[in-house]
Symmetry: C2
Subunit: 342 residues, 2 copies
């Protein structure tokens, strides 16, 4: 019998020798070795090259000694593979050439076939070989967050067109989310089939919604993705930012682990979602530059609050900022391990 990793144990609420830690966006923009290997290659092209994906995914594992790797990819990768004209513009984010704003545009979207992302299968297989005991987390975008990019045509502050479509034309909205749920489900199944040991569903912008709208227009689609992974035994993490009001609904969508940002202490989050779920989080990434003493105090607090939950995976409350000092992240992993093993 193989030893189960601390990360997978924490996801399942099993005893751990120390609190496991990884960082959203640990692979990529904050590391000089990432910029070195990627130099000149557009981001989404990089995501389609298994050699680069493997190297970039491994970089933070080598450097920081995190307890899990996360596939270097993007929630837009399966959309591009399914024929959507999307690019990631530096300092902007995903930009969609032909925004999807009516039924005809939804009907032009096509499903994703596993073959469309064979580069993912190849990268994950390579990685699982290289990683040894360190589990690999796969991920995908939840229908709401993907839809927000497709409808707005790029990043948004207000999600005005997305919300207008949702309320004014629910049939088209649900049709769009149906297609997107299928695409993400295929993308996640490909990753698990190739050896990913856990998955995270990113609904990064769900926190812009009221709970009522989340439950009516979003949760059923994300729930269908989780249900579509039932035949695998991998832990399922569900993450969004500013989701204090949505945590129970996001848990009930079918997660094992609920991602929590820094706005809610983990014990409060755990009380809201109940004892069936582990939690992940929740250091404010803004504090990475606040100095060692502040960080150690924050880690102590978060570890103490995390004890209230069924299991706790340490993470930031959102992705690693581009200007984060990699040395601070390495020290943070050490601090989490040291203080939680004590």
């Amino acid at each position: 019998m193989t030893t189960i990793s601390p990360f997978l144990s924490a996801c399942r609420g099993l005893p751990v020798p120390f609190t496991p830690v990884w960082f959203m966006r640990q692979a990529g923009r904050s590391l000089p070795e990432y910029h070195a290997v990627r130099a000149g290659t557009p981001m989404l092209d990089t995501c389609q090259r298994p050699d680069l994906v493997t190297e970039i995914t491994l970089q933070p594992v080598r450097r920081h000694k995190v307890d899990a790797a996360v596939l270097y990819s993007d929630i837009m990768v399966p959309l591009r593979a399914a024929g959507v004209d999307v690019e990631i513009k530096p300092n902007v984010g995903p930009v969609i050439a032909d925004p999807v704003r009516d039924r005809a545009a939804v009907d032009r979207l096509r499903p994703l076939q596993a073959d469309d992302v064979s580069f993912i299968t190849e990268a994950v297989k390579q990685l699982v070989g290289e990683l040894g005991d360190t589990p690999l987390i796969g991920f995908g975008g939840a229908p709401f967050t993907l839809a927000s990019y497709l409808v707005e045509g790029g990043p948004s502050k207000s999600y005005a067109r997305t919300k207008a479509l949702m309320h004014a034309d629910p049939a088209t909205w649900h049709a769009l989310c149906d297609v997107l749920a299928d695409i993400t489900l295929t993308f996640l199944r490909v990753q698990v089939d190739a050896g990913a040991a856990a998955i995270q569903l990113f609904d990064s912008w769900a926190g812009s919604l009221s709970e009522a709208d989340y439950r009516a227009y979003v949760q059923p689609h994300s729930a269908r993705i989780f249900a579509g992974l039932d035949d695998f035994s991998v832990p399922r993490i569900h993450f969004g930012v500013g989701t204090g009001e949505l945590l129970p609904a996001m848990a009930q969508a079918g997660a094992d682990v609920v991602g929590v940002d820094w706005r809610i202490p983990l014990d409060v989050a755990s009380a809201r979602i109940g004892s069936d779920y582990a939690v992940q989080g929740n250091l404010d990434p803004a504090l990475l530059s606040a100095g060692e003493a502040v960080l150690e105090e924050q880690v102590r607090r978060i570890l103490a609050e995390g004890k209230a939950a069924r299991g706790h995976v340490f993470n930031l409350g959102h992705g690693v900022p581009p200007d984060a000092d990699p040395g601070v992240l390495t020290a943070l992993v050490e601090t989490v391990h040291r203080l939680s093993a004590a």
Copy 2:
């Protein structure tokens, strides 16, 4: 005895003939007549010209028949009047020439004297004469939100420098907030002295904080502003975005009315803050483009939920977007009045 306006009655939890409504940023960017009168004048210069301030403040009252006017100004106006080099860049927001990041920079800030903003006194006096029975709302920025601009040097997504300063150097943080609280208090007192009938304290970005940090680093400074208005009898509104976790703390800072964004239903908000406070909100501005039927359904829901509170002032959950259709806003005022009077 003068008839008390529906707006002031709702703020005080008194009976109203219909639910009063006004819109944050009703004066300004969404109105063609605003762009016409301001043409060529930089925004902060416009705010210093009583003739323009008066005209721009009156425009939405004439057009939409809202139940309160809100002074056309900006939370940066008193900082500029106190000598801070700040401008509002179109499509960016406030930009600070010399960001405030250490104690020396804090010590260089000077207090605001009423004379520094005599243009405000003049504009408010003119307006009160012109407005007749329609109350004028004055406003100012809360120390956290002002500090975030001063420390970051402009708008921010993460508030990383602000939060790092707060945690790593609390003495400097509190010194900065002390100065800013004094400046905003003076700015608000000038407006009430000249005839403003209510004030709103904007802590727009407080929702980026945890409740613990809000209570430790922010609430005492905002509370000092509210306490400094105790000798006036004007209603005090306290507003921020994404503040579901902070509503009780923001109420307890000394507000009469708590602004609520669209993420929390007003009955839920009211249950959190208790029966001593009125609420203001909370239509999602993103839905202004969702069509008449959707808006009417939203208004019905919000009016029903608002009945749970001591008083309800209808508003958007955040400012009017620049691209809002003014006709939709006019119709919305009529809808709120019609459905609440029925």
